[in-house]
């Protein structure tokens, strides 16, 4: 199977993720979509690494995973706190950051 297909899959996953971030209101879903986009990016890194016979992309994928794990910790904590204070996980309810 040609490695190019992995790139197509990654593009599809990224598109789904981006659409989810832009469309969905539930913070958990938005969060999962962000993870989806990160993983799509990882997939392209690994696919191109394979295509070019170069390990740099794979190493980069590990970095992304670590950053994603850290981001999950912080992000989930924020969402939990948000839910506790507002009894809602909708991102549109958290709109105080404006003039």
């Amino acid at each position: 199977m040609s490695p190019v297909n992995y790139v197509y899959l990654a593009a599809l996953l990224f598109t789904i993720g981006a659409a989810g971030v832009l469309i969905r209101r539930n913070a958990i879903v938005v969060f999962m979509c962000i993870e989806l986009m990160l993983n799509a990016a990882n997939l392209t890194l690994v696919a191109f690494s394979r295509m070019h016979g170069n390990l740099d992309g794979q190493i980069m994928a590990f970095f992304v995973m670590v950053v994603a794990a850290a981001e999950v910790v912080v992000g989930l904590a924020i969402i939990v706190m948000l839910y506790r204070s507002r009894h809602s996980a909708s991102v549109d309810d958290a709109n105080l950051m404006k003039l």
């Binding site: 981006a18 971030v21 832009l22 209101r25 991102v91 549109d92 958290a94 709109n95 105080l96 950051m97 404006k98 003039l99």
Partner: protein
Amino acid sequence: MIGLLVGVPLLGAAVLLLGGRRLDRSGHWLATLLAAASFVIGAVLFASMLGEDAESRAMHSKLFSWVPVEGFQADVAFQLDQLSMTFVLLITGVGTLIHLYSVGYMEHDPKRRRFFAYLNLFLAAMLLLVLADNFLLLYVGWEGVGLASYLLIGFWQHKPSAATAAKKAFLVNRVGDAGLAIAIFLMFTTFGTFAFAPVLSAAGEAGEGKLTAIGLMLLLAACGKSAQVPLQSWLGDAMEGPTPVSALIHAATMVTAGVYLITRSGAIFNGAPDAQLVVVIVGAVTLLFGAIVGCAKDDIKKALAGSTMSQIGYMILAAGLGPIGYAFAIMHLVTHGFFKAGLFLGAGSVMHGMNDEVDMRRYGGLRKHMPVTFVTFGLGYLAIIGFPGLSGFFSKDQIIEAAFGKGGTEGWILGAVTLLGAAITAYYMTRVMLMTFFGEERWRKAPTPSPAEPDVEPAAETRGAYTPPHPHESPKIMTIPMIVLAFGSVFAGGLFKAGESFVGWLEPVTQFEHGHSPVSATAVTAATIVALVLGVGAAYLQYGRKPVPALAPRGSLLTRAARRDLLQDDFNHVVLVSGGTHLTRSLVYVDNKVVDGAVNGTAASFGGLSGRLRRLQNGFARSYAVSMFGGAAVLIAATLLMRAV
């Protein structure tokens, strides 16, 4: 030695001003002593100068380097030549006499110490003015005398009129001072220096245009300081100062500084005939202007002030004639210094005996009560109208002759103007004399304001309790200076004229040429005497034969205009004050509407724009995400597009 001449009175001023109340009792004697010391130093220098040859009489002494910069050398250095020497003797001599007189005149004034400090300050500044060897140091003295004049005019500053008069004198003088400053700038750019010797010796090589510009600016300066048209308006009001001040500063010395300036810069004017013509016109106009004003004033000091203006007009006119006139200008200046100071001191003596009354319509018949004042004032009067044999006769006659000697139509016009001036001088001085010392005694009568004369202010004493004055002769300390000055008024002219000694004395500094007068000297003298007789006769018919009304009659249109100084203040008000007000108003309008409008408009448009842009910040995380996404998409698209191209 020359520095000492300036230093001694300056020391006096410093000691008196810083010494405080301790010197209240003795300060005036200290000031008089220092003025006299300055005169003695001057006399010693004069004697040593006489011992030298005419050509090597000028002395120089450099005190210190003031601004030693590459390409800009300003020194505090003095130059004592024949011209300066003449002034030094006049200033210190008359100054000492007036110090002495003031001891009596200001005896009861609580601020006497300060008065004498200012007088000493004035002497120092005036000596600095005439002794400076460069225009910059002259400017220092020029400003110094302006300051002293301001302080002394406003000496009785509790009177609002005196305070206003001081301010007016100061402001009008600023205009002239600006002219002097510009003249010095022009000199520096033209000649690269402002010391007298290099500037005056190089004046011939500079272009006529530049010389004319410098000359006109110097003339503006002279107009301010010497109260010449159009900057003459301050002198009449300056009479608010104590009378000794009027005698010293506003008659004998400071107001003649303009004549000194023009004579000193003679080389510049010689190379600029246009500037000279303007000088002559200013002199001629002022000499008539002052004389006409002098005819209408009832205030004795203001009448004398008009006369001063007119006599300085003579000097300026003579100085404008060039080498044929400089020496005569200075000669008239010196004789005028004697007789006008004497006249003012006489007026002060009259006021002293008359409860400070200045209205001549309230005098009359004073010759019986004040014999010494009468005789000294009378001699000064005969001198100023040019009675044959007295000093004014010689000096004025010379100027009239020089005016004819200018040649051509100009010469005839100037000669006629000076002759007319002489007649008017005789008229108004006779009027002053008759109203003050002759006729019936008019001060006892209680004044009755008449309804027929609505524009006549009721005299001051009708409002308060009126105590009739008891005219009496002034103390000796006041009469002695008057007697000395009267001697000067009588003999100075003849002394100067004898063998052209004065002209010969000044010649190394001012040059001298004989004018080519179309009329003979005898004819000029005869015409002068005719003018004199006509003037005196007219005044006698009007004020000697008929009784003088104690309240001023309404008078003709010209009289009323002359009482208001020929509308000079009205003119200044309409043209300068209203004009200035309108100018500033329109500038404020432009500033508010155009300049502020542009600034405020820019600010408002940015404010409005940012208000619109602020709406983009709506707080919805997803809308921010859309803009990030869109931005990233645009960036990628642009990158790809660039790659493709």
